[in-house]
């Protein structure tokens, strides 16, 4: 029991840093409740919780990654994103959660690159999914701020960060680990997909080297995410996705180190990522 509460506390602390700084006041309120609740809870999978927290603790924010894109003068390709119209297709909570993660990354990408025309569509797609997942009211708190800051890139980035941070905090305080994991996996997948699709077309130089290194680093997170997803694979739909993530891991076994990340690998990885992602966003 004690372990679990520690895990939760840890999860919370980490969650604040998931998408950079969160809403402190809100989170501490929630934490208070969580600790109280945890006292006589029925046991949930401790391993899953631990893995989850561990993964989150190390996952870099997509905003940080996309910022690096800008610094490296990577071309902007909006066509890579999951079309916002797809939102209507997602009927199961698993699909909704994965794509909520995906749209969050897409939204961040658009904001960073100041593609204001599309922002609203992705914002409302995220909102729709948030409502479906009953995160709506948490998400909605940010509606006004989002609309007020729609012209300002930095503020918007912050609002999105906070919104996603708040939903994540909410999910974990409500013991909805599965949904939280799916969102996380979704956003990891989308971030990785965009990165690889952009990198595979350019030459590795000193100015963009960091990005190639990032791709290499992801194998650790991928491993963790695959393991967390494995905790929920009694759901047949989840089992397929877990298998997909495992096959991604297989590809990562080839290169020996970060220097081995070359075009051939990126093409191979990119093809697999496209396949896995296509399964999720269809």
């Amino acid at each position: 029991m004690k372990n679990l509460s520690v895990a939760f506390t840890a999860a919370f602390a980490v969650s604040l840093t998931l998408f950079s700084c969160g809403d402190n006041k809100n989170a501490s309120d929630q934490m208070d409740d969580t600790t109280t609740v945890a006292q006589d809870t029925t046991p949930i999978d401790e391993v899953a919780t631990f893995r989850f927290s561990y993964t989150i603790a190390n996952l870099p924010s997509p905003i940080v990654i996309f910022d690096e894109f800008t610094k490296s003068d990577l071309p902007v390709d909006v066509s890579l994103l999951n079309p916002s119209g797809n939102v209507k297709k997602y009927n199961t909570s698993m699909k909704q959660a994965f794509n909520y993660g995906i749209y969050g990354v897409d939204l961040a990408y658009l904001v960073i690159n100041e593609r204001n025309t599309d922002i609203y569509n992705y914002y409302s797609a995220s909102k729709t999914l948030a409502e479906e997942l009953n995160l709506g009211e948490t998400f909605k708190k940010f509606v006004n701020r989002f609309e007020a800051n729609s012209e300002n890139r930095d503020s918007l980035t912050r609002v999105i960060d906070e919104a996603y941070g708040a939903t994540d905090a909410y999910l974990r305080s409500n013991e909805r680990l599965e949904t939280a994991s799916e969102i996380l996996a979704g956003s990891w997948l989308e971030c990785q997909y965009i990165t690889v699709q952009l990198l595979k077309n350019i030459d590795r130089t000193s100015s963009n080297d960091i990005l190639f290194q990032r791709v290499w680093e992801q194998r650790v997170y991928l491993d963790n995410i695959a393991k967390v997803l494995g905790e929920f694979s009694n759901n047949p739909e989840m089992a397929t996705i877990k298998a997909d993530f495992d096959s991604l891991l297989e590809i990562y076994k080839e290169p020996a180190d970060a220097k081995a990340i070359d075009k051939a690998f990126l093409n191979k990885l990119g093809a697999k990522l496209t396949e896995v992602r296509a399964n999720i966003i269809k």
């Binding site: 409740d33 109280t36 609740v37 006292q39 006589d40 809870t41 029925t42 209507k88 297709k89 009927n91 199961t92 909570s93 409502e131 009953n134 009211e137 948490t138 909605k140 708190k141 409500n174 013991e175 909805r176």
Partner: protein, 1019 residues
């Protein structure tokens, strides 16, 4: 006389003329005969026919001998008569026979054996029996009164007071010189008349030649300027041994009447009248003629005085006089879309409840025939602008409507206005005959011709302001006024030579003006109405038989049918009349489909180039809302004119004392029927185009309900206002609030805070049928569509959990913390206690709940209370988190199950695309602001996803907009059921106000109150 009869006669005349070698003389007689029968042009035609036939006979006969000629003629006679037999009715054959006899006797000498034989041959071929033939012979051949036999089939009218010998009937007419003789052929009901005398009598306007024989047909009248006319009914009554059984006497005692504004309308009117009289009421404009008539018939109640019929006060004991009074208003009160026959038939069914259809049919046919309306019985009456039948015929039909139930006293308001002089005379003759038939007939008349003026037995004259100034014989009236005004030759009431009277003369005397010193007329009258009234009072005799024994034996034919039967008649009549009105049908039954097409087609939004997806159509709420408004509007317009259109007919039927309930119920039934069809076509077409799948019945039921409510509103205003224009101006006043206050155009929360409330639909919204209907349809569409119905329950559970967990718990924790810090006011304790009490009841299964079953938080809070409460809240949170997990698994399972049910992989999405709608979901799931939980009346009120919540458990029906279940009598029912009931209850309420005529009463009361304010009084 018809062409066939004339041709037959020409042939027979030719035979007689030929045989007697009287061709020249005979030709003269034939010519004279034709002159009376036909116009100049036709005379020549028939004369040529006669000549040709004569020549034909002569040509054949000239070779043979005289004896042979006779036999040849006999054969000819037989052949002609056989021809005639096949072409003429029996009645017409009688006419041919008597004309033939007259012809044969017209040559100055008495005809011989052969002629008699000839006549007998004709009679026998015509199948006229011997006694009748003998009667005809003796009557037609008579040259004077002495030559008649004394059978009971004859009637003599002359000025002699002496009875005639034998069975000959006799009427004394002092003004008539000479003798009028009538023959009644009883078997055929045919009357012949002959006149011996030297007056230029007119039979129906045709001059009568001395000694010639005429047919005296139905409604005929013999007039001459100086004589008292002889009416058909006088004659038939005499033959029928008619006796008056129903003596009616009417007494009017000192009647005063004041209008609503206090002006006096009638000044002590008194008179007496008895059955068998035709009484004219005359006077200038504004003299109170119609007022008097309406008092006499019981429509208006005088403030002073009384009107008695056989001693029964018609205003206070109306029920004893049922069916005795008939009233024919000035305006035509016909169902314009029904035929002449139907008008009379359905009216009779309402008046003659004791007869069955066949009997009524017989009566109606007979009456139509006697009024000369049989030929047009199947023509639609039409309105005055689109005439199908003439003005005179309309008027006669109006009279027939009253006659059919045989009232003993008949009131007729201006029967001749707008009619040609011929029509006027016909109508007045009809009324005269009724009075001769024993009825008491009152006629208000404006400018009678001399002939009509003379028809009246009595005349009542009123002067401006309602002063009675004369009551008595019409002819004497002229003498009276001339005398009063000191006219020369005052005793002459009519023109010496032509016998015309000039009723206008009376008015010019009454109203003659004072001249000023320049010889110009001034506005002042020589004799004021008041003075005329004084003169009249001086000579007025006291009312004879002013108090007759109370006697209400006379009931007429009137028998009120049962309510159900009335309902049936009203219903059939209404339906028939509507079916006959093509324009009405077309408009009312095309309105719905056309509006449906317009609405559904134009609101059918989708991304251009793509396919139509119901789910993405942003206009679904607008469509549902417009469906409601259109239904309401259709219901309102179809009914708004219903009662006002019938108002005049209702006025007449007031005399029948029919059930208002039956009438209204029939109206309601007919309208419901129309609304049902309208909304049915509307839904079928609209929903098909708009692709709302599988909800036809639901939409129809609700829209029909709304339409019925519209019907009830329409009927209420239709029954309460005075003109169709007012009603149509009023329609927007009824529709616009239904639009604005429906909660759709403007959210209830966003109305003026003085009228609205954040926790429930404001009262002003509750009285709008549109709000109930829209809510029911929207919630039903959300909840019961082919996709949503599977998930509704689980979604509802989830939303309750989310609300409790994310809002309620947070608020409660906040309250507790503030309480501990001492930041709460005393009055907040009630809220905390209430919430804990109710929560501990709801979640009684949690062990921590027990401690809070009877919470008593006080200031400052006791640590034990605080701890218990915190513990309870923590337990609740745990409970909700688990609940959420369970329910999301449940939901997932349902989704999977639906998906598995479809064969195709995209089944779930297809289902959603076809059956759900995003915009509607948005509307029903959000509240417009983010105050998902508010404090009201010492409770927390949930305002989160309204469609997924129930109305408050302690309030009857009322709740927030769009909740899916409502509390009624302590139990929860679906919003659909509750709203349906509410609209029907509102309709029922309107039915009651309609039945009680509440709106009309309210309006007249307000009018009366307004009249008390000097400003309005002077308007």
């Amino acid at each position: 006389m018809s062409e066939k009869i004339l041709k037959a006669l020409m042939q027979l005349f030719a035979i007689i003329a030929n045989r007697d070698q009287l061709t020249e003389e005979g030709r003269g007689v034939v010519e004279a005969f034709l002159k009376q029968q036909v116009s100049q042009a036709h005379q020549d035609y028939y004369l040529r026919f006669f000549d040709e036939y004569l020549q034909f006979l002569q040509g054949k006969a000239s070779s043979g001998k005289a004896t042979k000629r006779v036999s040849v003629n006999s054969v000819k006679i037989l052949r002609i008569c056989t021809d005639i037999n096949s072409e003429l009715e029996q009645k017409q054959k009688y006419v041919v026979l008597v004309k033939l006899i007259e012809f044969a006797w017209s040559f100055g000498e008495t005809p011989g054996e052969q002629e008699l034989e000839f006549i007998e041959t004709v009679a026998s071929v015509f199948n006229i029996d011997k006694p009748d033939a003998a009667l005809c012979l003796s009557f037609a051949s008579a040259k004077n009164i002495a030559g008649l036999d004394n059978s009971g089939y004859l009637l003599v009218v002359n000025n002699s007071p002496l009875r005639l010998p034998g069975n000959i009937r006799h009427i004394q007419n002092e003004t008539l010189s000479g003798d009028l003789i009538f023959l009644n052929i009883h078997s055929e009901g045919i009357l012949f008349v002959k006149y011996f005398g030297n007056l230029p009598l007119l039979l129906n306007g045709q001059s009568m030649v001395n000694g010639r024989l005429y047919v005296f047909s139905q409604g005929a009248v013999i007039r001459e300027a100086k004589i008292q006319p002889v009416y058909f009914s006088d004659v038939t009554r005499c033959f029928m041994n008619y006796s008056r059984s129903e003596d009616i006497s009417m007494t009017v005692n000192m009647v005063d009447y004041y209008f609503g504004n206090g002006r006096q309308g009638l000044h002590s009117v008194s008179f007496a009248a008895a059955s068998g009289n035709l009484i004219g009421i005359m006077g200038g404009s504004g003299a109170g003629k119609s007022t008097l008539l309406n008092i006499l018939n019981g429509n208006l109640t005088p403030q002073k005085g009384e009107v008695l019929i056989n001693g029964i006060n018609i205003h206070t004991q109306r029920d004893k006089l049922q069916g005795i009074i008939g009233y024919i208003p000035q305006d035509d009160l016909l169902m314009e879309d029904l035929t002449v026959y139907q008008n009379l038939f359905y009216n009779s069914k309402l008046g003659l409840g004791n007869l069955d259809d066949a009997e009524i049919d017989k009566l109606v046919e007979a009456l139509l025939e006697s009024l000369g309306l049989l030929a047009i019985k199947d023509l639609k009456v039409g309105d005055p602008l689109n005439k199908m039948v003439s003005g005179g015929q309309r008027k006669r039909l109006n009279i027939a409507l009253e006659l059919i139930r045989k009232p003993a006293v008949l009131f007729v308001d201006e029967p001749t206005s707008g009619l040609s002089s011929l029509d006027s005379e016909n109508v007045m003759d009809l009324l005269k005959q009724l009075s001769l038939g024993g009825k008491l007939v009152f006629v208000v008349i404006h400018q009678p011709s001399s002939d009509i003026f003379k028809l009246f037995d009595k005349l009542m004259l009123l002067d401006t302001g309602g002063f009675p100034i004369y009551y008595g014989n019409p002819s004497d009236a002229i003498i009276y006024f001339k005398r009063r005004a000191n006219f020369a030759a005052a005793d002459e009431s009519e023109c010496e030579t032509c016998g015309n009277v000039n009723p206008e003369q009376i008015f010019s005397i009454i109203e003659s003006k004072v001249f000023n010193e320049f010889g110009q007329t001034t506005a002042d009258r020589k004799i004021t109405p008041n003075e005329w009234n004084r003169f009249y009072e001086e000579v007025r005799l006291p009312n004879v038989n002013s108090r007759k024994e109370e006697n209400s034996d006379y009931k007429g034919e009137y028998k009120k049918p049962s309510r159900l039967r009335q309902l049936k008649v009203f219903f059939t009549r209404d339906v028939l009349s509507k079916l006959k009105n093509t324009q009405y049908l077309l408009i009312n039954f095309l309105e719905a489909p056309i509006l449906a097409v317009i609405l559904a087609y134009f609101l059918k939004f989708y991304q251009s180039g793509g396919d139509y997806i119901f789910r993405e159509n942003i206009n679904v709420p607008a469509y549902i809302f417009m469906c409601v408004i259109v239904s309401l509007f259709m219901g309102l317009t179809v009914s708004a004119e219903e009662i006002i259109r019938d108002r005049k007919i209702l006025k007449r039927e007031e005399f029948l004392d029919l059930s208002r309930g039956s009438y209204l119920f029939s109206k309601i039934l007919v309208l419901l029927l129309i609304s049902a069809v309208q909304t049915f076509t509307f839904v079928i077409i609209g929903n098909t185009i708009f692709e709302i799948k599988g909800m036809y019945t639901d939409y129809w039921v609700m829209l029909f309900t709304v339409s019925c409510f519209g019907n009830m509103m329409g009927l209420n205003i239709s029954a309460s206002f005075n003109s169709a224009v007012t009603i149509y101006i009023l329609i927007p006043f009824l529709i616009i609030p239904q639009i604005i206050l429906s909660g759709v155009m403007v959210k209830f929360e966003n109305l003026n805070p003085n009228v609205t409330s954040q926790t429930r639909v404001p009262v002003i919204g509750e009285i709008m049928a549109s709000r109930w209907a829209f809510e029911a349809l929207a919630v039903n569409q959300y909840k019961n569509n082919e996709y949503g119905k599977h998930l509704f329950d689980v979604e509802k559970d989830i939303s309750e959990i989310v609300y409790r967990k994310d809002f309620w718990l947070v608020k409660m924790n906040d309250k507790l913390d503030s309480l501990r810090k001492g930041l709460l006011l005393e009055n907040q304790m009630v809220l905390i206690n209430n919430e804990f009490r109710s929560a501990s009841e709801t979640y009684i299964q949690l062990p921590a709940a027990a401690a809070l079953s009877n919470p008593s938080f006080t200031l400052p809070v006791k640590p034990a209370d605080y701890d218990a409460a915190k513990k309870f809240l923590a337990a609740l949170r745990k409970h909700f988190i688990e609940g959420y997990k369970i329910n999301s698994i449940r939901k997932e399972a349902i989704v999977q199950k639906i998906a598995a049910a479809g064969k195709e992989p995209e089944f779930l999405n297809k289902l959603k695309s076809v059956y759900t709608n995003e915009n509607l979901d948005d509307l029903l799931l959000t509240t417009g602001d983010f105050n998902f939980i508010i404090e009201d009346n010492n409770r927390f009120v949930r305002r989160f996803r309204p469609v997924l919540m129930n109305g408050p458990e302690d309030v009857f029906i009322r709740s927030q907009f769009f909740v899916s279940q409502k509390n009624m009598f302590g139990k929860y029912f679906s919003t659909w059921t509750v709203n349906l009931l509410v609209i029907w209850a509102m309709s029922a309420l309107l039915m009651v106000t309609l039945y009680l005529n509440a709106l009309r009463k309210f309006l007249s009361l307000s009018e009366a109150l307004l009249q008390k304010i000097p400003f309005f009084k002077n308007l």
